[in-house]
């Protein structure tokens, strides 16, 4: 009885969480244009989606920004983490807190402040500004996943490498990077996921002619929700879910390994 109640509660909660998404996914296959009724199964909206040159351009910008922002923020974030790590414990903690502020800052504030900054520097808003904004908000997440790996690392490994003849640069490339690789990959996946589905910051930092998928969906929605949006959203949800799945899988594997070592 008690167990049954517990399960019912769980299912109701999950339903509450996922019902909107499920409805959206189902409607992306709805032949009827009206939202109220089911008009049979169709892939028409998906077909139209891929015919639409505006959507294709949005997809192109989304993926391009995501890839560039991921690569650059991963490199910058990793180097910064190593730099922060080389300071003492106190600076490390301070930097971790400083690093948290952009993470917990509301996106709208980040977006608006970036827009103001670009205006202040008289930069024309467009692809470059959006890319810079994405790199900026991705870096803290990379640091958040790399720095703990560095702190977990046995510092004796650095001395051992030095003792065995590795010069400072070789210590980083041959030992440190290999040790923190799981953190770097997690940070990379985080950055990619965040960049792909960002709306608010992109909205404030992009210019005319350059929009990513979320901005495009938003502008479509203003003109009335078309079922194409359902199809597009379904694809975006699937992509993000897949990425999250990969991240979680990696995390599980890692805890298993460290568990064994202890």
């Amino acid at each position: 009885m008690k167990k049954a109640l517990r399960n019912v509660y769980l299912y109701i909660m999950l339903l509450f969480l996922y019902a909107p998404i499920l409805v959206l996914m189902v409607y992306s296959f709805n032949a009827s244009k009206s939202r109220g009724q089911w008009g049979g199964f169709t892939l028409e909206w998906y077909r139209r989606l891929f015919m639409d040159s505006n959507i294709q351009s949005a997809l192109y910008y989304t993926v391009l920004v995501a890839i560039l922002a991921t690569i650059i923020s991963t490199i910058v974030g990793t180097i910064s983490s190593i730099g922060i790590f080389l300071y003492g414990n106190r600076v490390q903690k301070l930097m971790l807190n400083v690093n948290y502020i952009p993470v917990i800052n509301p996106d709208i504030v980040t977006g608006v402040s970036m827009m103001i900054l670009f205006a202040f520097m008289s930069m024309r808003q467009g692809f470059a500004t959006m890319l810079i904004a994405h790199i900026t908000f991705c870096i803290p997440y990379v640091i958040l996943s790399v720095l703990p790996k560095l702190r977990q690392m046995d510092v004796n490994l650095i001395e051992a490498a030095m003792d065995l003849g590795a010069r400072p640069m070789q210590i980083i490339t041959k030992v440190v990077l290999a040790e923190i690789k799981p953190g770097i990959v997690t940070g990379l996946l985080f950055a990619f996921t965040l960049s792909i589905d960002d709306f608010v910051i992109s909205f404030f930092t992009t210019g005319s002619g350059v929009s990513n998928l979320s901005i495009y969906v938003y502008s479509m929605a203003k003109r009335g929700i078309s079922p194409e949006i359902n199809a597009l959203s379904t694809l975006m949800i699937l992509t993000v879910t897949l990425l999250l799945f990969v991240i979680n899988k990696r995390n599980n594997k890692k805890t298993k390994i460290t568990g064994e070592r202890i």
């Binding site: 490994l157 030095m162 065995l164 003849g165 590795a166 041959k174 290999a178 690789k181």
Partner: protein
């Protein structure tokens, strides 16, 4: 006389204004097994780290042969270290760990393969090349660490309490193994430990440290039989340390009895001396005219011998003997002239 390989002159190191190593001098000869022995915080590890190049001396010099190596970075010193926690690279297998220093030197693949196999033979781990380091036991990891440290043919191998993480049985095995390896490869080993038994078993020469200063250096036999002060006497093995007095050479009085000894009066200014007697050098038996009398207060079986505490007026003697004496028994303690070590008081 063997050639000196490592020498420290007036070596001094402080951390945050606290002196850890205080102006010490020592020499280490080629192919010697030298141990720095002392309690924790005595500066032994700091000395090793200065030789390895991980710490800079605050002042003083370290010589390798006749060259000062103070300013040579660790990665250029022909010395290698075996770390207390092994410090194996977890992302590499056994082969890659041992090959690491050779790969840095860009040696060709064939000679690396041969050398790794040969080193694994030396440490008795033949055939373990492809094993993951995390799948090895502590003792096996330690062997890999030793093989890795030997891969570059260092002039000196530095070992920082390498066996302290192992259990007792494994530790004994590895002691024998280490000594064998050292004799086989004929290299200088500098070893750091707080375990006096380990130091006595392994070393050709022991340097006893306390509070950053050298207390005594010499062969294990010298240090055990002729400790120069009460710290060494107490730290190396068990000791009974008693206040005594000497009015003339070769005769000492303590706890109200006179004994013949082999030492001359150490200090002409005062009659006060310190008497050190090893527990295994005490003869315990019937009370007699010349013996120090006491009562057995405890007896503990230690495997090879009994450890007996005997209360004699105002001093509790520790005695090691194979004979059994029950608690409460009246006994007399006797000492041969060779068994009484006299030290300067103060």
């Amino acid at each position: 006389m063997k050639k000196t390989i490592i020498e420290a002159r007036n070596l001094y190191k402080e951390f945050d204004k606290t002196a850890v190593v205080k102006h010490i001098n020592f020499t280490i000869a080629e192919n010697e097994f030298v141990t720095f022995l002392g309690p924790s915080g005595c500066g032994k590890t700091t000395i090793l780290r200065m030789i390895a190049g991980f710490e800079m001396p605050t002042s003083g010099e370290i010589f390798l042969y006749d060259k000062v190596i103070n300013d040579i970075p660790a990665y250029l010193r022909p010395l290698n270290t075996v770390f207390q926690n092994y410090a194996l690279f977890p992302h590499m297998n056994v082969f890659e760990n041992i090959a690491f220093p050779m790969r840095l030197k860009k040696q060709d693949k064939n000679s690396i393969g041969k050398k790794v196999a040969q080193l694994l033979d030396v440490v008795n781990l033949g055939g373990y090349e492809q094993r993951d380091v995390s799948s090895l036991s502590g003792g096996q990891q330690q062997r890999v660490a030793i093989a890795r440290a030997l891969a570059n043919d260092p002039k000196v191998l530095l070992l920082d309490e390498p066996l302290s993480a192992l259990d007792l049985k494994m530790r004994k095995e590895m002691q024998v193994e280490l000594k064998k390896i050292q004799q086989e490869i004929k290299k200088t080993f500098i070893y750091v430990t707080h375990d006096q038994e380990e130091a006595l078993t392994l070393s050709d020469k022991i340097i006893v440290l306390n509070h950053g200063q050298i207390q005594q250096s010499g062969t294990p036999t010298d240090i055990y039989n002729e400790p120069v002060n009460t710290f060494v006497a107490d730290f190396i093995g068990e000791s009974n340390i008693i206040d005594g007095s000497m009015t003339k050479d070769f005769e000492v009085e303590f706890l109200g009895k006179k004994f013949i000894c082999v030492d001359e009066k150490p200090d002409q200014q005062t009659n006060r001396v310190i008497v050190v007697i090893r527990p295994e050098d005490i003869e315990i038996g019937q009370r007699q005219e010349h013996t120090i009398n006491g009562v057995v207060t405890s007896i503990v079986f230690k495997g090879v011998h009994y450890e007996i505490m005997v209360q004699c007026n105002d001093y509790d003697f520790m005695v090691h003997t194979t004979d059994y004496h029950e608690i409460g028994k009246d006994v007399g303690l006797d000492f041969g002239p060779d068994d009484i070590h006299i030290m300067k008081a103060g």
